[in-house]
């Protein structure tokens, strides 16, 4: 039956497809490089930090019949009460770091809060972002504020305003003696104001260690350590206030600010680290505010919070800002990750590296010939290793699997059915993880606390499969499988933790198209695997079979 259309061979189809895809990807990358100056290599010395602040709160419903908040300008309602009038108007005020900032150079600030009016309130030493809205609706509200920050400086001295007004706090009766006791203790142990502050912090630590559970002025639910320290210092007549710091790292997805102490020493406000009492600028962090009023004020809302997300860009500052500015012009169709909220950006950073890791898995399986326990287990393991570090992670994995297998060895005596046995293994794994966490915390090995990120179910299945492999094929095969899995996961880890790879896939997401094409081509590789070169090494060099009629054939 003749075909009217000539079908291309699969190989030719693949070739054409690859050309089209790779061409498109390269064109897009080229456009980014030439138009936005996006560098192919990450700029290592001066990263730019993109900070996103997310303000969340629930609007408060006005008490029924309460018209006092309505102003004269409100239009009278027509027949019946309009539902929006039951919600209070909103005013959100967020403290912002001043432009002349310690530790940072701020640029490219932006507010994203649809439906809200926004303006920056600037006074002498304080800047605040102010959002207002009359009728917010019932759902929880999300307001975003973002800024770019670079170039950390190294002086923490802030001028003391004059006249310096300190209001000693009003002490309650039961506090008075404890506070006085602390002040005296600190004074005895110190020689000047600097050491006084440090000794006070040490004393607060000691009190917290000794008197857990006892009510007192020491850190408890009522007051944090810094709040207490400020209170004590003010009572002693030393000007002190709380400062809030934002660590510039990507450790946590969304966090709140860290409290630091700010004390006047030798005529200047100086920052003090409450953890160790050291004076000076916080390393790798940005000072958000020093003293002043509250961080976040919400009128008309409750359960409010401000969460901070930090994303690192290894790019020249000009490129980042141009990238953001450029995308705001709606005529620009280029999809750019920088538009997306910062929490999602961090997720993307990891997601976009996964294709490359998958390519590595295909490479290790089809070209090298390493056998693993499950096709994508190495990938999951490598993502978990990102949290724990490679070697600690491998050690933890091996320990848990080994412990799990010992316990499972007993279970097999009980002759349970499959599903029950897997579930029992899962429960045992959970216990092991908790035990491991507690033990590592006790002995001070904090890496062990991160073990909870390991995919639980995967570990339970791995234990089961390895145990079966040992029973059926011998311990040698099981060890080979485990070793192969760890080897491939180490390779994947090398990829997902690589700064340059992260930079390329994040700033050029279309590079993953190239990864896709490479994966497709690897799938057509029909040559020998590396392990086969070893496996067949004993074959005779004298070929016994001669080709009787080796003319080319078509199946």
């Amino acid at each position: 039956m003749p075909n009217s259309k000539q079908r291309l061979s699969p190989r030719a189809e693949l070739l054409i497809l690859s050309f089209v895809l790779v061409g498109a990807a390269v064109a897009l990358m080229f456009y980014r490089i030439s138009e936005y100056g996006m560098p192919l290599l990450p700029v290592s010395n001066q990263p730019v930090w993109a900070i996103g602040v997310e303000v969340r709160f629930d609007p408060i419903r006005r008490a029924p019949g309460n018209r006092s908040t309505a102003t004269k300008n409100d239009a009278p309602t027509r027949g019946g009460v309009a539902t929006e009038a039951n919600l209070q108007p909103i005013k959100v005020s967020l403290a912002l770091p001043p432009r002349q900032n310690i530790g940072a150079n701020i640029f490219e600030e932006e507010s994203v809060a649809p439906g809200y009016g926004f303006h920056l309130g600037e006074t002498a030493n304080a800047r605040r972002a102010i959002w207002t809205r009359r009728d917010p609706g019932r759902e929880p509200q999300h307001l975003f504020y973002s800024m770019l920050v670079s170039a950390l400086s190294d002086s923490d001295k802030a001028a003391v305003e004059s006249p310096l007004r300190i209001t000693p706090p009003v002490l309650e009766a039961d506090e008075r003696s404890s506070i006085q006791g602390l002040i005296d203790l600190a004074r005895r142990r110190s020689s000047d104001r600097t050491s006084l502050v440090q000794q006070l912090l040490v004393a607060l630590d000691e009190e917290a260690g000794l008197r857990e559970g006892e009510p007192g002025i020491v850190p408890s639910e009522k007051a944090t350590k810094v709040e207490t320290a400020v209170r004590v210092l003010l009572s002693a007549g030393i000007p002190a206030r709380m400062a809030r710091i934002l660590p510039l790292d990507e450790e946590q997805a969304s966090r709140s600010l860290v409290e630091w102490l700010d004390v006047v020493v030798d005529g200047h406000w100086r920052l003090v680290n409450p953890e160790d009492g050291s004076f000076g600028i916080p390393v790798g962090a940005m000072v958000w505010k020093r003293g002043g009023s509250s961080l976040l004020d919400v009128e008309g809302g409750r359960r409010s919070s401000a969460r901070f997300t930090v994303v690192r860009h290894a790019l020249p500052a000009a490129v980042v800002s141009r990238g953001i500015a450029g995308d705001r012009n709606t005529s620009n169709p280029i999809f750019s990750i920088q538009q997306v909220p910062h929490r999602q950006q961090k997720l993307f950073k990891m997601l976009l590296l996964i294709p490359l890791a998958a390519l590595a898995i295909v490479f290790m399986r089809n070209l090298v010939g390493v056998l693993t326990s499950g096709t994508f287990l190495p990938l999951l393991l490598s993502l978990a290793f990102l949290e724990t570090g490679l070697l600690p992670g491998i050690a933890m994995f091996v320990l848990i699997v080994a412990a799990g297998m010992l316990l499972r060895g007993y279970l097999s005596h009980l002759n349970l059915l499959l599903v029950a046995r897997i579930s029992a293994a899962l429960i045992i794994v959970v216990f092991l993880m908790v035990l491991f966490s507690v033990i590592s915390w006790r002995i001070g090995w904090f890496q062990g606390l991160k073990i909870s990120v390991f995919p639980l179910v995967i570990i339970a299945w791995t234990i089961e499969r390895l145990a079966i492999t040992i029973e059926e094929e011998g311990p040698r095969d099981a060890l080979l499988e485990l070793g192969g899995t760890l080897l491939v996961s180490a390779v994947c880890f090398g990829i997902v933790s690589n700064r340059w790879a992260e930079h390329v896939v994040f700033n050029f997401p279309e590079s993953n198209i190239i990864v896709l094409v490479l994966t497709l081509w690897l799938g057509t590789y029909s040559g020998y695997r590396l392990t086969e070169l070893y496996r067949f090494r004993h074959l005779d060099s004298a070929s016994r079979i001669s080709v009787t009629d080796a003319s080319s054939h078509k199946t």
């Binding site: 089809n366 010939g369 002759n415 059915l417 499959l418 599903v419 079966i468 059926e472 094929e473 011998g474 095969d477 057509t524 590789y525 029909s526 040559g527 020998y528 695997r529 086969e532 070169l533 070893y534 496996r535 067949f536 090494r537 004993h538 074959l539 005779d540 060099s541 070929s543 016994r544 079979i545 001669s546 080709v547 009787t548 009629d549 080796a550 003319s551 054939h553 199946t555």
Partner: protein, 327 residues
Amino acid sequence: MPSLTRWLKLLRRPRTPRELSRLGVLGMNARNHQFVQTLNPRDRYPLVDNKWLTKLALERWGIPTPRQIAHLTCQADLRHLEKLTRNVRGFAVKPCKGAGGKGILVITGRKNEDFVGANGRAVSLARLRGHIANTLSGMHSLTGRKDAALLEELVVFSEALDRYTYQGVPDIRVLVYRGYPAFAMARLPTSEANGKANLHQGAVGVGIDLATGCALNACQHNRALRRHPDTGVDLLSLKVPEWQPALEMATRCWEMCGLGYLGADIVLDANQGPMVLELNARPGLSIQIANGCGLRHRLAAIDALPHDPTPRPKERVRLARQLAAQA
């Protein structure tokens, strides 16, 4: 002396791709790409992967195979286990969707209340039940999903291979390419393999010359060896009896299942002669090591034989044996 050490060094180092290519060795990627994926239609896999379906088809086509005792599909069927096995001396329990030799429990006889396993140890009824229950819940199946268990009569293997085996049941794997037998090897259990004919675990593979039915080469763990590690017999003296019928029934399996790259496992029963035990849609590459020779050249030679139409089984076997004799 220098030439000896050089020869030794030559033997032990890994081969280069070019050397392997010249030897005609078929690699896993090539096997999957050019043979398994192109010649084995996916819809035929269940016939071959499921031992029960295979047995039904073999019986329907009149190809000799061990008698089926029972096909257990659900846990409730376990009630009848005792009754089913009462009058049978030896039987094998196999997961229908299992791969390789996974999950196969062999019972060779009885001793008082218990059964006797392949290694001579006692197997209680409870343990047998537990094993089958495990099988039914999918523990040994390829996908991990629910499975059925097949009970079949145990093969009493013929004395011809007695001296070459340590416990267990030896079998002969015939690689059938486009209906023609291409290569064959005997798999002989050893103590290291716990009485299983599994090359990975240490069974001995002996390449069999298609033309004569005699041993060509022997290997264990990818390495050549001369004598059986347990019985000490010279492996190259092995000769398969009733070779022609064995090859014929292997090639008839092609007509039965339509897979162009097929592995047929044949056992020699003392009373009934050669029988097909099971079929494999992804036969492994160790057959090359057992024969001491790569597959590619033979497969290319078979491609040159007539395929449209393919001759009848007897003729195919004759042509294949002729090819082997010429090599």
